[in-house]
């Protein structure tokens, strides 16, 4: 019995940090409507800075001063970020806001390694709280008691801040209706900046307070951000009380889940989240959101099927690509195959994101499921390659059917957060279920059949599959299904009132995209001969997003161009710099701020301006003018 009490209390202690970070995210979202993906990064920097400061400053006072100073310093960084970056993207589509803050996260990850090194750092224990108290014969660290008290204390302070101060009341007014506040003559810019600073302060404080409990390392940002997303999805974005209740719930589920399913305790949280989403899609304490801003929403140029000439051009390019083995060596062919596989992956995300307006931040889940599907069939059932390639992606399909059903119930940022959370669940299972997946060691020795064993033949296979997959998705885009999907993206209101079952259409798109992604994952296994949990990792999900964005979210063929350029760039970067995440993150941020249309989008703009006869809509316009 006493064991369970202590387990419960230590769950409560874990909830404190989680609550701090989640409430910060919620407060920022409430006013700015930005889901700050970089929140985990601020949490991590808070922990690193607190580590350094508490090492430098001696004594009890030094320790606590170090914690608070760290949080304040990170809040100051937050102010700079808000003024330099966020102010430029408050009016951008949600996807771009998420991506920009994600790019920031990537940059921070490399920066902390650069400054503090790659190894785990063990922080100081809190002075005066090194002991433990005795609860019915079980030990509970004194520091945990402090955290248990701290959580509700911060909740109370925030409540007072928002109810009893002029600033708090303004923030609440801004949360409800931004225009009124602007009308009151309040300096909106500074209101936003101060809110962001408070949110970041809470995140950094959460990180700083973790150092006596946990080692500091450069992956803690993603771990916390996934937990925080789960918390705000359950509690409701924008609600501080919701963040508290859900943080406690999630922490307790973790604490007790470990006892019930020691290996895959995360499944328990997933189940709770699923139930909450079905019953209250906007979370326990959240309010239903007004429909999200239209996505992509930057231009209005309608899409056209390719003209005959354009089709011929594509065919010529494809033949040229197929001729590559005639003059390229094995290394180039392997890279060529990888690019082809990533073109499939990017095209699948593009279908969901650009056609359907469903920006998934966890598309790697399906890539990974396809990979593991193939690996298991090959290893455990000993099936030949073709059978594996055909059956393996079914695992991605099943995953997409199950996860997609929940995801399409949400939209915008909730959708992004939930897809990310599901992808992390897939990753955790791959990582933790060592008996089946081999955990971190992966599954090795899965090679293609003899007929495609050479780099040239495998390249041709990849190219063929890529051409079929990309062509098929393009076909679907112009079929009624693709139009219905776009209709839902453009105006759910109008779609529903002209007989389109929007959720069903989106679910179907999710499944199509997931299955095609799984096909890419399946091919990837045979390219590399192995599969690792990273095949479902966040980095891969972000790669896909960047490829689509780089090519142009609003174009039909952007994904293809984006995949080719990005993959080539990434391979080049990795061989030339240690800091690929820093460069990549910077590229994302710059792209979102300066070139949101992407490469193909910019090309189309130029084409329309200088060469209007080339496009079908240009022709139509000239015809009209001539009339």
């Amino acid at each position: 019995m006493s064991f369970y009490v202590v387990q419960f209390l230590s769950g409560l202690a874990s909830a404190a940090s989680l609550f701090l970070v989640a409430s910060g995210l919620s407060i920022i979202f409430g006013v700015t409507r930005i889901v700050n993906f970089a929140h985990g990064a601020f949490y991590m920097v808070g922990a690193y800075l607190a580590y350094t400061l508490t090492e430098q400053l001696a004594g009890t006072f030094g320790f606590w001063a170090g914690i608070v100073l760290a949080a304040l310093a990170v809040a100051a960084i937050g102010v700079v970020v808000e003024m330099v970056l966020l102010r430029r993207i408050y009016r951008s589509p949600e996807l771009f806001q998420l991506l920009a803050t994600f790019g920031l996260t990537l940059m921070v990850e490399d920066l902390v390694v650069l400054i503090w090194g790659p190894d785990d750092l063990l922080g100081r224990r809190a002075p005066g709280m090194r002991g433990a108290i005795d609860i019915f014969g079980q030990n509970l660290p004194t520091y945990d008691v402090f955290l248990i008290v701290l959580g509700p204390l911060v909740l109370g302070l925030l409540w007072l801040l928002f109810r009893r101060t002029r600033w708090g009341i303004l923030v609440r007014a801004a949360t409800q209706d931004r225009d009124t506040v602007a009308a009151l003559g309040v300096n909106q810019k500074w209101l936003f900046t101060s809110v962001f600073a408070l949110g970041v302060f809470l995140a950094a404080l959460g990180g700083a307070l973790q150092i006596p409990r946990d080692a500091v390392n450069h992956t803690m940002d993603l771990r916390i951000i996934v937990d925080v997303f789960v918390v705000v999805v359950i509690g409701g974005l924008g609600s501080i009380t919701g963040a508290f209740v859900a943080a406690v719930l999630v922490s307790e589920l973790n604490a007790f889940g470990i006892l019930v399913f020691p290996k895959i305790s995360i499944v328990l949280i997933f189940l709770v989240m699923a139930v909450v989403l079905v019953v209250r899609p906007w979370g326990l304490f959240g309010k239903p959101e007004a429909p999200a801003r239209q996505m992509p929403g930057l231009t209005v140029r309608p899409w056209r099927p390719l003209s005959v000439n354009e089709r011929l051009a594509f065919l010529v390019l494809l033949i040229a690509a197929a001729a590559l083995p005639l003059f390229a060596g094995n290394y180039v062919l392997t890279i060529g195959a990888e690019i082809a596989i990533f073109a499939i992956f990017a095209a699948s995300l593009h279908f969901m994101m650009a056609v359907g307006g469903l920006a998934s931040f966890g598309h790697a889940a399906y890539f990974g499921l396809g990979s593991y599907g193939v690996a298991m069939l090959a290893k455990f059932a000993g099936l030949p390659m073709v059978a594996c390639l055909l059956l393996g992606p079914l695992m991605g399909l099943i995953g997409a059917v199950v996860f997609g059903w929940f995801c399409v119930r949400l939209s915008g940022v909730y959708f992004a957060m939930l897809t990310l959370a599901f992808a992390q669940i897939v990753w955790s299972i791959a990582f933790q279920w060592v008996e089946v997946t081999g955990g971190d060691n992966g599954m090795l020795g899965i090679w293609p059949d003899a007929w495609v064993a050479t780099p040239a033949t495998f390249y041709w296979l990849s190219l063929t599959v890529a051409a079929l997959a990309v062509g098929g998705l393009r076909w679907l885009t112009f079929s009624p299904f693709g139009y219905a999907l776009r209709a839902m993206r453009d105006s759910p209101l109008r779609s529903e009132s002209v007989g389109i079952d929007g959720k069903r259409v989106q679910w179907a798109a999710f499944v199509v995209a997931g299955t095609v992604a799984a096909l890419a994952g399946a091919m990837f296994v045979y390219l590399k001969g192995s599969v690792f949990p990273d095949n479902a990792g966040i980095a891969l999900s972000v790669d896909a997003l960047v490829m689509v964005l780089l090519g142009g979210v609003e174009t039909v063929s952007g994904a293809l161009v984006g995949a080719i350029v990005y993959k080539a760039l990434a391979i080049w970067l990795v061989s030339y710099t240690e800091l690929s995440k820093l460069v990549l993150g910077a590229i994302i941020v710059v792209m979102v701020v300066a070139f949101p249309k992407g490469l193909v989008g910019m090309w189309e703009v130029l084409q329309a301006r200088y060469w209007p006869g080339a496009t079908a809509s240009g022709k139509a316009r000239r015809a009209e003018v001539a009339e």
């Binding site: 140029r301 079929s479 009624p480 007989g499 389109i500 259409v505």
Partner: protein, 264 residues
Amino acid sequence: MSASTAPLLAVEGLTKSFGGVHAVRNVSFALTAGEILALIGPNGAGKTTCFNMLNGQITPDAGHIRLEGREITGLAPREVWRRGVGRTFQITATFPTMTVRENVQVVLVSHEGQIFNPWCSTPTFALAEADRLLELVGMGGFAERPCGELAYGDLKRLELAVALANRPKLLLMDEPTAGMAPRERIELMRLTARIAREQKIGVLFTEHDMDVVFEHADRVIVLNRGMLIAEGTPAEVRHDPQVRAIYLGEGLVYDARHREDSAT
């Protein structure tokens, strides 16, 4: 009441409140095929809320909605649409990233139940029918234009084409002419009235422009603070003292408004 003698639309005791706001209270009325019924009332009277309940956008707290004698209360908007109800919105809802013609084609595809048919190409689907509808509302010359570039008045006309695409029995039009120039308003309503009479479509519309109301409505019902306070022919309603009281200073007086419009 058997289906054959039932009115096209019968509304009984419709009620809806949002929190403490009684948006619509116990509203009942009926509409026969080919009839044009105007629903008027000051801002916030509950007109849009009524429309939203009629097409299934929101579920009423109480009351019944019957289409040709069959209960449609609580059905989803897409199911209500399948039974022959078209709708235009107070703030236009169209697909801005498609061309004008594609906006209509999507609806035709949905009407024909072809959404999940992969062998059909939307840009070439039912071209003739789409162009006929666009021609009907005077948008024939705009077929290839991106919908996102249209002027507001043109969007309203496109919405009418979209609402007519499933050959509805009942047309719900929430402020069909709001944001249009006065001459355009009269034209659009004349057009709507003509189509309604020819095809025996019942029309329920709301409108703040009393010219439009009095010229085209067969009957008028008046909503104030969620309650139905008057019903009758345009002439009867215009002389109703209660209605005059509500609209005092809002230009219900037909002649004054008329002069003002033709002056601009």
